[in-house]
Symmetry: C2
Subunit: 342 residues, 2 copies
Amino acid sequence: MSEKATTVQDVARTAGVSTATVSRALSTPDKVSERTREVVFKAVEQTGYRVNRAARNLRTQRSNTALVILPDLSNPFFSEILEGISDHLSGTGYSMLVAGMTQIRDSGERLIDYLNDGRADGMIVLDGSLPQDAISSLTAPTHRDKIVFACEWTNQADFPSVRSRNRQGARDAIRHLYDLGHRKIGHITGPEGNVLSLERRDGAVAELTGLGIAPRAEWVIPAGFSLPDGRKAAQRFLKLKDRPTAIFCASDIQAIALISELQRHDIRVPNDLSVVGFDDIEMAEFVTPALTTIRQDRFQLGYAAAVLLMECISKDSSRDYAQIHQIPTNLVPRDSTAPLLP
Amino acid sequence: MSEKATTVQDVARTAGVSTATVSRALSTPDKVSERTREVVFKAVEQTGYRVNRAARNLRTQRSNTALVILPDLSNPFFSEILEGISDHLSGTGYSMLVAGMTQIRDSGERLIDYLNDGRADGMIVLDGSLPQDAISSLTAPTHRDKIVFACEWTNQADFPSVRSRNRQGARDAIRHLYDLGHRKIGHITGPEGNVLSLERRDGAVAELTGLGIAPRAEWVIPAGFSLPDGRKAAQRFLKLKDRPTAIFCASDIQAIALISELQRHDIRVPNDLSVVGFDDIEMAEFVTPALTTIRQDRFQLGYAAAVLLMECISKDSSRDYAQIHQIPTNLVPRDSTAPLLP
DNA sequence: ACCAAGAATGTAATCGATTGCATGAAGTGA
DNA sequence: TCACTTCATGCAATCGATTACATTCTTGGT
């Protein structure tokens, strides 16, 4: 009954070879003669053998596991990125450990420990706001080749990263509104200090300026990416005496909440106000009016990050420093934007 | 430069004790005299020692890792459950491995291997539709005590599980509509064969019947939980000659898409039709009209599942079979339901 | 003062797979 | 046929922590 797991020893015995040969037959099949290879495979089949990961990890000093760090596990925005990551990882035999910064902080763990104690071979960080000490510990030469940022990033160190063309996306959003005839264009920002917020705001400002429109300070409404933030932004908007005719929001979620709240106050979108979001979350297509937005390919973002991480980990040669992969965004016109009425 | 990781040996040496003592000082501090304990701690401090997980895992035959299985990584519904799980796990020193069934199938892995090869000590399954062979392999006596279902479950085996009171939630939804004066009440179901769909439909039917209302077959519209499903359901709804005055949807997402599509066809919610959803996703409060729904506490669901799993794993005594933990749901009345107009 | 019980520590085996080195077999070229 | 390379395999060390067992040191009771 005692159901002891089968080991290489068992396989070696039934195959009539040494454990070394079994191991080789499995991990480097071409170093073994065809005949023994088959014998071993058959023995593996018979005994139902599976390598013990703990033993392999100890010996090889690799875990075949990647750690993914989210700022906040409960944020649904990341799910599609996770899928992209997992999709590539699982193809390369890697497993995906997931942790949220909140939990990590609470449990008093340090990110770097995951790398040190052999739980993970590398990590993908989706949080641009790591505490300073975390960042500096990660920059240690032993670790810098095991870390990749995705989606967000940090300016305090130059890690390789994968990100959307946030600035260009923002420009496209503004341009779209301009092309519809809008000249009075506002912007709801993301959270203060966040790299994405900055890029999107800068992009918007740059495009406006380029189009000969001076951005008006009271039309740049500071907010965060979340639903409540969007609602609050709407309330700020309602208080404006002179209102823009179009708004570019730093996130879809925010835009959806904003529209909802404005509708409640009888402002019609797109008739009274055109709104562009950012992200193209699935919901964007299904709200009324369907949201015009800047699509970022989150699956691709995750996938590319995983590819990049695997490269970093495996590459023994010193690699060109701190690559930045930019994923294109694109405008998805829907019903929340319309030509400016004369 | 070669930055070799510090081991118990190093600590033992600097502390002037044996490795056994170091190990004991760290894992069973009371088996060691106060004096040596301090010396060891100091040495740990000095050397910056961290246990090597691979080595520990091999020796102890535990990984201190739990595997979480999602049907679909990209589905944002699960993020809050994940947070609940992680919140408890990280408190007990466990790490969380996450995998989607899609990826697992594609990579040809078997769930059971995670348990066998020492990657995980136990698993939380959020997918009620595992393939038959997966389920039967998991029922093996060696594994059945390492598995917990959460949110969804399977009827093909009796694993312990944590779930919402789906039936009661559905009853509450119907009752709410009834109390508002509605008698012509429809239902959009979840995907065929899904346990949640079944429970919610059964609950709705039971409540209707209990209230003396005979459920009408054409008012039970088969659908899935997703946004496109909700839209399709709306189209089916529009074709009805005799329409209900109220609808209970099996998911919020579905309800949101349904309302959006109906609004596009000038059906006003709640004036022309009252709608109740299920889940209380964050968005529910922020759409127009704000969605009346049955709240299920997803964080709690995940948290309880993690607690249950840890119990199962640690309990050496044979435990009472296949506990089912039910998490209460509750009605959250908002603006998508209104009294039936005379 | 002596012995037994218990506490603290050390020695060395162990977990299971991988791999450097050694050995033997087979093949190659002159 | 001989020397020599190449290939296939086996032996045994190794990864780093834990723990059964042995040993030494306390301590308390009589």
